[in-house]
Symmetry: D2
Subunit: 479 residues, 4 copies
């Protein structure tokens, strides 16, 4: 990954986007994926169907790099699915790019997923023992095998059977030459929304992509829901009744784009409320409030508004850091060469600065930013985090480091403060976070996954011990 800031963040794995029944399918998926680019920059792919056969293209890089005019024009069809991927493992390779496309007994199938299964390794081992071969390391291939091995003849029942076997977090799009199917895990851990554009339907990880193509938002997919799109139109089914909503709270805190709404709650406004609540819980005497761009801007505005301390651009991000950026050597970094963030001297000089960040994962970047502010003349640096301390790893597709690397797992707040060199440090409480995002909606059918904060995992965690045991083949020299 090319971004020093992101390196020290929790990172999303993927974004998915699908269109059913519209002649503009390839273009819509292109622009839709482009709007989801923040969810994954490693690879991009689109599969479309003209109801006879698939055309597809996948590649490493941004949507705009993978798809040039030629590739986009060659995609044909009125239905399709697309995917952007962020790699959580070292196994960054074209092989793992999605959507996965394959032939099976009933024809052609394409799958794109966002999320992570907690029993994928188990199922994979079992499938291998039964003679399956795996050409990728992604969970998506596991789901493909389960569908292909189902005894059911029709795709809906086969998918349903497969979903009955997998556990974990997943927002799933499946396409044959007849049907498009969307499904969400029983806890609704990952976001998935439904929209409409003229006579067609659209499905996406986030509503911001609907705005990008002029589609109308209809509703969020429910946990355990399966939507089938075919010549009959749209049908909703439940593949399980044992559901308990637990959407990833980090979607609000960090992942999603501020202009998206999740479960009807706008992300920017939720973040601003997180900042306000943070101000209430942890006020401080100071001269300026600044946010770490881009994800902490909303919270910083909220904190400033609540405290009356002026909000300033005290930290500026270089917009042109791409995948080919040459990282400065450690020697150069020690001498002050910055990678992508600068402190604005005239803004922070001789000032008491409140620095708002959305989260602290390993703490290294936070420490670096605090030092940067001090070098730019800040008299005091008070760090305020708009989420609770992250103490537990995520098994649902978020790339947290292992538990030992989570600074809050082994250090208390005061120790973390010393580590990052701040004058003061405070985290938002879990209660405060829930209030700010929207507690009123918290009922039996609607809750948040808080596992990384409080270790209450909404599912069993089968593969936990097995992680990292996958036999990895290293693909070199992409492209």
């Amino acid at each position: 990954m090319f971004d020093e800031l992101i390196l020290d963040k929790m990172n999303e794995e993927c974004g998915v986007f699908g269109v059913y029944n519209h002649p503009g399918t390839p273009q819509f998926i292109y622009y839709g994926l482009h709007a989801l680019q923040h969810r994954g920059q490693e690879s991009a792919g689109i599969v479309t169907s003209n109801r006879q056969s698939f055309t597809f293209h996948r590649g490493m890089g941004l949507v705009t790099e993978v798809f040039q005019t030629k590739e986009l024009e060659q995609l044909r069809g009125t239905m399709g699915i697309g995917h952007v991927r962020y790699s959580t493992t070292g196994a960054s390779s074209l092989q793992n790019a999605q959507p996965l496309v394959f032939n099976y007994h009933d024809g052609q199938l394409a799958i794109a997923t966002n999320g992570n299964l907690v029993n994928a390794t188990q199922i994979r081992r079992q499938l291998e023992r039964q003679g399956s071969i795996f050409q990728t390391t992604s969970d998506t291939e596991v789901i493909a095998h389960l569908i292909a091995r189902s005894m059911y003849d029709n795709i809906e029942d086969a998918v349903k059977e497969a979903l009955g076997m997998i556990k974990g977090a997943y927002a799933l799009l499946i396409m044959t030459n007849d049907k498009l199917i969307a499904a969400l895990d029983p806890n609704g851990l990952r976001p998935l929304v439904l929209g409409k554009i003229e006579e067609g339907y659209v499905l996406s990880s986030e509503t911001c992509s609907f705005d990008a193509i002029g589609a109308e938002y209809i509703r969020d997919i429910d946990p355990g829901e399966m939507l089938i799109f075919d010549r009959e139109g749209m049908t909703s089914k439940r593949f399980t009744l044992q559901t308990r909503k637990a959407i990833c709270s980090f979607e609000y805190i960090y992942f999603a784009r501020p202009d998206s709404d999740i479960n009807g709650i706008n992300v920017h406004l939720a973040r601003k409320r997180l900042g306000k609540r943070l101000a209430e819980e942890h006020p401080v005497e100071a001269d300026v409030v600044t946010g770490v761009p881009d994800s902490s801007i909303s919270a910083a505005i909220g904190y400033a508004e609540a405290t009356g301390i002026p909000y300033e651009l005290g930290l500026i991000k270089n917009r042109y850091v791409g995948r080919t950026f040459i990282q400065p050597s450690q020697e150069l970094r020690d001498k002050g060469v910055k990678m992508k963030l600068s402190a604005v001297r005239k803004v922070v000089e001789n000032k008491r600065v409140v620095m708002i960040d959305d989260s602290i994962v390993r703490g290294t970047t936070s420490g670096r930013i605090v030092r940067m502010l001090r070098e730019a003349g800040a008299k005091e640096v008070h760090v305020r985090i708009s989420s609770p301390p992250v103490k537990n790893p995520c098994f649902y597709g978020i790339d947290t480091s292992s538990r030992e690397e989570l600074i809050a797992a082994t250090k208390n707040v005061e120790e973390v403060r010393q580590y990052i060199g701040a004058d003061s440090l405070a985290f938002l409480s879990i209660e405060g976070m829930l209030d700010a995002i929207g507690r009123e909606r918290l009922d039996s059918s609607h809750g948040y996954c808080l596992a990384c904060f409080n270790s209450e995992y909404p599912t069993e965690v089968y593969d936990g011990l097995l992680i990292g045991q996958n036999r990895e083949m290293i693909q070199v020299g992409e492209e």
Copy 2:
């Protein structure tokens, strides 16, 4: 150019960066240019000297695209100059990439410039009549010819003679295998700053690049000043005494990065003051203030702070629009496919919105954004512009459209309001702008160029009538 927003803005031509006497020269120029990337994304180039001969590389695209590890590692030397370019004309081509390197009677020479000469066409014609050949269409080649044709043996006098002949706006870096020379036009129309890094000197269009490499800012170059760096160290000379400071006010309004200081004034803080003054001059009853990202954010914060109306992220920019982005067809745009900006429904719905923009050039983008806000549910849209109306073309290297395309040249404020469909529209006054940026510094030796607002051009405008008469060769298939 890849950016719909930028298309309707005034655009800077270039950024320059130089290092003298440091072993890290190639790296510093790389990171320095990267920090100046906002000043030009079309081409990038670096020339270095090991005091014996030059090594150089130029290419189309971003600094990070043009320079990969291999190219950077092959650059050798302890002094060098670099350039990023934004094309103001259709003649976007590798040929015109800078720095220009050539051999002349006294050895090797490299030149990089930011700016535009007002008598380049005249001089070019004259040089051609004397037998010169021109391989590019850039003014820089004109300067190169003048230096090479000088009767003076030493480079300093030759440069001085050349500068005596050219008129217009220029921040200039010249390198031989012995010396580095920096020069600024007699009006100081373009920014150029001097810094220090260990035993070496650095020169740049903006201070933000000094922060990026850990260099220390020393001072801005004076109008009519020429700095010579050689084994003797640094020497300052005046190549003319007829100077009158008139720095481009748009550097503060739009071009420069918010973390840069120009003449000691921080750009973000200046913009925030522009927003505050705008609030004083043109208040309005409203529910939210939002800025058009990225350049209008600071002014929007200032406006919000002054009025007490909450500042919100009502408009979101997609960060991943690159040069290979496929523009949606007009048909798709009509259907709502957006290119890079989205309005945030939950923020603006049923709200009276103040939309802050830094300038209106042709008015088409402003109109589109107003419409976008209305479609997202805004009840009222009040547009406030943090600069005066742009009524005259720029001849100093800024890519304004021709006078007929400048909406404020032919329409009054009410007509412009109707054109963009706003509920109200107001521009900052020239007086207000000067106060906000920093009137106290306005004296005989320190002023602003206001020509695009009030047609008081600080120089004669010789080539005005000739523009567009250049004989252009079209280079196809760059890369």
Copy 3:
């Protein structure tokens, strides 16, 4: 495919190359595949193992295009297999590039094959019915599934079991992290040779690759033989006793490089003998003998030597036709724009020319060359073909057109002569061909496949009727 001449030829599918137990494995495979490049130019791939895990890279294009220094340096290990591919179908795509790498119950496996199965479609359908998914359209994936589904724990027995199920032509290299296995089909339809380099073993489609890396030729693999390389050294086993040698006669006629030996017979010398025998069977009064470059040169030399008619370069091939060559439009071709072959006027003008070609498939190219010679002034053009008429399609991996397109399937020799516009035309007899290549070796264990000439297929042809029924997904925008 980029070659007008090749378009009208029978075309090989692939070349394979393997190394066991040598630190220079990646380099040897690179240079070895490069020597096999004539067997396939569509894609190239290398997998190596350091006995713990695989590293691999595959891509579209020539070996030298797919592997740059970086990719080659990243390959690690002391054993490995490589592949070059020529696409016989429209499904030219990275997906189908080999070697195939995957995980199965026993770890990692890589496979590379040259050849074609005649019951692949049958087995594929059966595997799909059992729940297998297919991500490529290549027969290699079928073999991979069979190995993975074997009940045997050890790879040797699993491979043996798989080979017992497949029928057709195959030279096969399989690698795990412990072993390298080579196998040849029971008819030995495809060539596969064993060599030695220092302490290591090498396997290849052709001996010319041994010369390229300085390896020593040991022997040809036997039909139905399986060679296992592991820490114990090399072991030879028979996976079937029902073998009957029937090597593709076109390897001698056209496919193989002239410096290769197949079954101890040098290809250039065999071709020269084909030319001599052709002269005996079909002499003609003429002034010059010329061969269609490159594959017919040897036969032309032989014909000239036998008849005493001088051998000349009457046809010249442009060496620089690559994949990016822009084909002339039909209009330009009609006007005389040539793609890669020219007749040499001074050589053929007013001469009676014997034009030697190795085969006629569709006849279009032959006709074009005859016309070219006449336009260059040839008085007479006598076409002599150094192989018998091709009347039947190949099911063993050779890209002949369908039967209807084979000109000799529907036209007699006189009709073909008229079609190509020659003054006379003659083909070598089957008897003559066998004599020339080496009849003395023709015994029960050593024969040639003559199916395309006489329809005596050495295996059953199960999939014959099914060909073309595969469900193809179209991958667009390679690379």
Copy 4:
């Protein structure tokens, strides 16, 4: 340069191709340059004119690499010139790619040349003293300056004046928006031919390119001739009467394509006669004759025909060596890894081999091939060279090494034989060579340059002492 064989050869600098008055101009130049590709593989360029303005494209690599469909389609016009370049110096760079295009007092001008001036450095110095700047290191830029500085208003006289000042070898194409001008140096050292295609004219370095596009050969340009093409049609002028034909004999020996005719003499047939004469002068008892591919094949055929010893393919060249080929390390080469040439064991084993090569320059490659043949089992290796010993450097655009590197300059034949390890070695005599190429044509107006054999340079050699003193800028990271 990518070719080990070529490294040890004399190498041509360039090929030129021009079209006047044909709508197919861009395509014809593309296919024409493609046919001249053997004359230069480093860079390619095309400039076309629609009589109003130029469109052009230049790039590094083969014609087919530099020009893709897009670039070719963007070229517009009914006249144009093109160029392929082989770099004789280290200064391989895009900067030096031709045609050179520029603006001067009279409009636009494009120039492409093949050859080398012997007083370019002198003129360059003088021009620099007069204030000219040089952006390339090519002689072509010198000619451009001379034309631009001419006092004459019309291009013909300006060109004539420039040609009066330059000395050396040149085949020259010049284009304005009105005219196309071709010129050949007073000695006709480089080839240049005129052809016709429908209503248009074509000009080329070799006739093989006329065959490629279906053009009709008219005649060779005369030494000191200038052809002007404009709306009046074609006009021939002499820019000097002091001409003395001395065409480079190496065009026949090595450079030109065998299907080209130079001065009416076919190159293949000339080479075959060189081989025959070589057989007469230096017969030897042997079993096989083999030629070093590709340039020595014709001579080898001639030698075989004259002696009755069978001609065989004893050496095979890999056709797929391109610019991205990874050279084997010295260690690998010592172990036997070959770059592009293989000896055919079955052909040479236990045989007395006559190895025909067209020339020996440094002797290293010859030695390597002799060794290769011995390792493949040759009993004796008799080397016969179809040209006289090269003892003197070329100043006319041929990349011979400096005199010290020319093995025949410092060693006698016996010493060379020992150096290359041959059993015997013999060179063709100068007399024999002249007879073979065509002595009957040798008269006052028609002769050969033999300078590299006998040091009789047809011109003065002004720059001889200055070579290598150019101030070189190193351009890195092409592409």
